[in-house]
Amino acid sequence: MKPVTSGMYVYLRLVLACLRSQMQYRASFLMMAFGQFLVTGLEFAAIAALFYRFGSIHGWQLHQVAFLYGVVGSGYALAEGLCRGFDQFSAIIRRGDFDRLLLRPRSTVMQVAAFEVQLMRIGRFLQAAFVLTWALMNLHAEPGTLMAAAAMIIGTMCTFCGLFVLQATLTFFTVETPEIVNVVTYGGVETASFPLTIYPGWLRFTFTWLVPLASTAYLPARLLFKAHGPMSHILILPACGLLFLLASIVIWQFGERHYASTGS
């Protein structure tokens, strides 16, 4: 077995190298980060406009939904930033770049995760973090709420990382990533930003039992705001995201054994 610490060290070195190279194009980076901020910022403005007109949704107020939105948005932005290679894996496979990664004496999971880490994702993260901060201020958050938010963000991040890993595993067999996969990633962000009770049964089932976004976002939030459940439950639920990520990595390793190069 390769030591995990050395793997993490190499991951950090690779990430820093990516960041340094992107900071060579500073104006471009700033524009792209601002663009990301604007895209999701206006999305949230639309949600706020709906609350302004209609008041509430299934008994949830704007600041409560903003809390959900902030948790899911920042978790997703972190996953997108840290696991970019899995999201772009189809290109890595097509160019035959994966062969090179296999030759190196480090875990492929770590190497792919560090492939082209994008600093501009900070735009989306900051936007979600602003919304979350605003929500926490309006909720008169106690230390417990802050801990819950942190656990939920990490759980959500792990779930989306797991989804990217699964999406990449699929590419071992299909080479191209089918557009339909976006349904669980982008679709997951949209769906999990609202209380799950508004959706039809098949959608609730998908995002509770197949993709554990309910456990990392909606259910803990409901325990916090509505059911006033014990803090231990609120903090333990997001761990489902971690389990999901671990399971995805096991599936990835299975897929990797069936990899046949496309490169020449």
Partner: protein, 269 residues
């Protein structure tokens, strides 16, 4: 007027581009599945809001559901990205060959853009609308007139979208990367076109501002005509505004092309 022979190369280009776009039929089919999913999620969200305060809504539930399906069907009208082929031309310097051709650069890029919006829209919208009408509570236009006004508005929306798209491509001649414009224009367009939220749900002051901008004619105007929220008199005014915006954007684009071709530094060797 322009003689027919002068228009021929552009028509040929348009037809060729359209043919090329129809090759992506499988992508359109998968895209439709994605759009169906999004439509159902958006409908669940809006239905929950409308249930919380139906009396505060500017549209009833059926109208809202129909509007949301129209958005999903017309998603490819949106000027979301610059033409990848043109970006490569500019980056690699091969854009110089485009300048050598004895045709108008603006018009030929405009034709490309029109095909790039029109064909995917038609290929996605028609099957999606059939599925949505049969299975998911989308309403047909209430009158023949509403249907005809909608069809006209879609054609005008595509002409406008092509002008916006071409302008984004032309910006590459000045900035090379296009990274900024490629993110900022779509962000504003998404909000101001009705894609994220039907414009009549927004606060009134904001609606007044958005009414002057061209983006609402991409989706909101056709959708309102379809569901009968606005009729023929308002349609005439809206159409006139769309045509004016399209002409203004096209003239500006053409002016920029002329300027750029006079002082262009071609990259690559």
């Amino acid at each position: 007027m322009i003689p027919v022979s002068a228009a021929r190369p552009y028509l040929t280009l348009l037809v060729a581009r359209c043919r090329q776009e129809t090759q992506y039929r499988a992508a359109a089919l998968f895209g439709m599945a994605t759009q169906l999913f999004w439509g159902l999620v958006r409908i669940a969200i809006f239905t929950a809001f409308l249930k919380a305060g139906a009396n505060r809504s500017s549209m009833n539930l059926t109208q809202t559901i129909t509007y949301l399906w129209l958005v999903q069907g017309m998603i490819r009208v949106m000027p979301w990205s610059v033409d990848a082929d043109i970006r490569n031309l500019v980056r690699e310097g091969t854009v110089v060959y485009e300048l050598l051709r004895p045709i108008d650069l603006y018009l030929s890029w405009y034709m490309r853009a029109f095909a790039r919006h029109a064909i995917p829209t038609v290929m996605r919208a028609i099957p999606l609308f059939v599925a949505a009408v049969l299975l998911f509570h989308m309403q047909l236009p209430l009158t023949v007139a509403a249907g005809a006004l909608f069809a006209t508005a879609v054609v005008l929306a595509l002409l406008l979208a092509a002008a916006m798209s071409t302008l984004m491509s032309i910006s590459l001649l000045f900035t090379l990367s296009g990274d900024g414009i490629q993110r900022i224009v779509p962000a504003i367009a998404n909000f101001a076109s009705g894609l994220l939220i039907p414009l009549s749900f927004l606060p009134t002051t904001l609606q007044h501002i958005l009414r002057v901008l061209p983006f609402r004619d991409l989706i909101d105007t056709p959708a309102r005509l379809y569901i009968g929220q606005i009729g023929a008199p308002e349609a005439a005014a809206a159409f006139a505004q769309t045509v004016l915006w399209t002409a203004a954007l096209a003239l500006f684009g053409r002016f920029l092309v002329l300027r750029a071709s006079k002082r262009m530094v071609v990259h690559g060797g």
